[in-house]
């Protein structure tokens, strides 16, 4: 497992994909932070953190699939998966290693955004509890996105299909939240809000640290990692 994790991390930075992800993510979040918090704070008004985090999450919907698109699709295309699947390594540790590698790159970038808070603190005393609560929320939301991306990547050998497919699915997962108010039936609304990943995040916006939501995101991770393992098991038996 360690070997695959190391190889994945190395590949992110030798192919340049990791740098592109980090650069774009930092640029987008940096810009959004400046617009919605620093500038607002300079004018003396209250900073708009929920809006900043909405931008962060929407950028993740586009950027995380780019990070995960190659994880299995490329292995399949280059036929290197034969090496992994015939090596004395279990399927689950192979999938988890790839998941952790993508999570590390994402986590490091997200961690780096904490630096922004030192900027805002020079304009006043922000509630650091809320800020870090947000960061943790985004981290778990992002890890759920990565698990979905890795699963889609295992289904195809075309990286572009993997990326676009993942973006589409994540958009649906996010979009349900915006669609919900237009639905009359309370029953359907209930079901939709249950699968809405964004609705869970809402509670972080009110400064609540929601363990139920974290558990929800973690269970999404496990489900999709499990499904990815199943994809490989099924392929072996097909």
């Amino acid at each position: 497992m360690g070997a695959i994790y190391k190889r994945e991390m190395q590949a992110y930075f030798t192919t340049g994909l990791g740098y592109v992800f980090c650069a774009v993510f930092m640029a987008v979040t940096g810009f959004a932070f400046a617009m919605f918090t620093v500038q607002v704070a300079m004018s003396g008004a209250d900073i708009n953190l929920p809006l900043y985090y909405t931008v962060v999450i929407i950028s993740l919907v586009v950027l995380l699939p780019i990070l995960t698109m190659k994880s299995f699709a490329e292995e399949k295309k280059m036929k290197t998966e034969q090496l992994l699947l015939t090596a004395p390594v279990s399927l689950s540790s192979m999938v988890v290693a790839k998941f952790l590698a993508a999570l590390t790159v994402f986590g490091a970038c997200l961690g780096a955004t904490c630096f922004y808070f030192t900027v805002i603190s020079s304009y006043g005393t922000p509630n650091f509890g809320v800020l870090y609560g947000y960061i943790i929320g985004v981290f778990f939301l992002g890890s759920a996105f990565i698990a979905v991306g890795i699963f889609i990547s295992a289904l195809t050998e075309n990286q572009l299909v993997a990326a676009v497919g993942t973006i589409a699915i994540l958009m649906v997962m996010i979009g349900i939240n915006f669609l919900n108010p237009y639905i009359d039936s309370a029953f359907i609304r209930g079901i939709l809000s249950w699968i809405s990943v964004y609705e869970r995040f809402d509670r972080f916006c009110y400064g609540q640290f929601d363990f139920a939501a974290l558990l929800y995101y973690i269970s999404i991770c496990f489900s999709f990692i499990f499904l990815t393992v199943r994809v490989y098991e099924k392929r072996r038996w097909a």
Binding site: G2, A3, I4, K6, R7, Q10, A11, T14, T15, M78, K79, T80, E81, Q82, L83, L84, L85, T86, A87, P88, V89, S90, R236, W237, A238
Partner: protein
């Protein structure tokens, strides 16, 4: 070392492998021979645990590939048809990665050094794999299979896409490997197995057609001796004279050059007609420009063993009509 019993693999109602059984002993080099789509790669993929069989049992060094997967996989080094190399890594990084992936517990530096010496890739050790030639990539692929010193080495079409010099080198390498490892290699090139393997398993349409020592198979179909002779002389007279040699069953001209004609001469099994042929030509003053033995190759073996008899008969019938 390898025990395969009643192996079956079907995709839908198409049988890729249909009830194959064989065993391979310790330090044996076995060739898997068959036309494209015969089921060679499928069998190898099942042996290495990449695919699962629909039915049947595979044991590698006493470990069942399904029940004792990790131990079985640890005893195998596998080179698939396309070498599974990462183009963005250097050879050094790649071999280190494979070493860790296989969880080896040998002296890393010494072991990797041994492997690169055996496969002769020391001069590209620090180069990025995507910049290597096809031959080097193949050798890096073989090196990968050797990492961890597995007891069994499985090579799927190891010489495909290589130039003649590289083919000879890889064959020599395989022969060297056979001293310490059990080797199974697949190919559809007949001279390859002839040059390298102790034993031959011929497979067609998912079934084993023959499983014998290489020499035995070549001899089995060597019912006739065939010579190709280039003789300078009047064609009609030469044909007549050669046909009159004791033991010659057939003589035909198959082509002509400037001042000599090429003849295909068949004689009864076990009868060497080269001396009488030479004496005849000398007495008539017809210079012998060249003489080669034909019909010893595995091509004949292969065709004889794998051609579907029913289809062959219908073909012949059509021709006679």
């Amino acid at each position: 070392m390898i025990k395969v019993e009643g192996l079956v693999k079907h995709y839908g109602d198409k049988y890729a492998v249909n009830n194959i059984s064989f065993t391979v002993g310790d330090r044996e080099i076995v060739g898997f021979l068959g036309p494209n789509g015969a089921g060679k790669s499928t069998t190898m993929n099942i042996l290495t645990g990449y695919l699962s069989a629909t039915d049947g049992k595979v044991e590698i060094d006493g470990h069942d590939i399904l029940e004792d997967t990790m131990a079985a996989k640890r005893s195998i080094g596998y080179l698939p048809e396309i070498p599974p190399v990462y183009p963005d890594m250097t050879v050094k990084e790649y071999l280190d990665f494979v070493y860790e992936l296989k969880g080896c517990k040998l002296n890393r530096r010494k072991h990797i050094e041994e492997v690169i010496n055996v496969t002769k890739i020391a001069d590209v050790y620090n180069r990025v794999i995507k910049n290597l030639s096809r031959g080097y990539k193949q050798r890096v692929g073989i090196a990968q299979a050797l990492i961890g010193n597995p007891k069994v080495i499985i090579l799927d079409e190891p010489t495909i896409g290589l130039d003649p010099k590289q083919i000879v080198e890889v064959r020599n390498l395989i022969r060297t490997l056979g001293r310490d490892h059990t080797v199974i290699l697949s190919t559809h090139i007949l001279s390859e197995v002839q040059a390298v393997c102790d034993r031959l398993i011929i497979i067609n349409k998912g079934k084993i057609v023959a499983d014998k020592p290489t020499e035995e198979i070549s001899q089995a179909v060597m019912t006739k001796c065939r010579l190709e002779a280039k003789i300078s002389g009047p064609e009609k007279d030469v044909l007549y004279a050669v046909r009159s040699i004791n033991g010659v069953t057939r003589c035909e001209s198959v082509g002509s050059e400037l001042d000599c004609t090429t003849y295909m001469i068949e004689s009864e099994a076990g009868l060497d007609i080269r001396k009488p042929l030479f004496n005849l030509l000398a007495s008539r003053n017809w210079p012998l420009m060249g003489l080669t033995t034909m019909g010893m190759n595995l091509e004949d073996v292969f065709i004889t063993l794998t051609v579907d008899p029913a289809r062959d008969k219908s073909k012949k019938r059509k021709i006679t009509k």
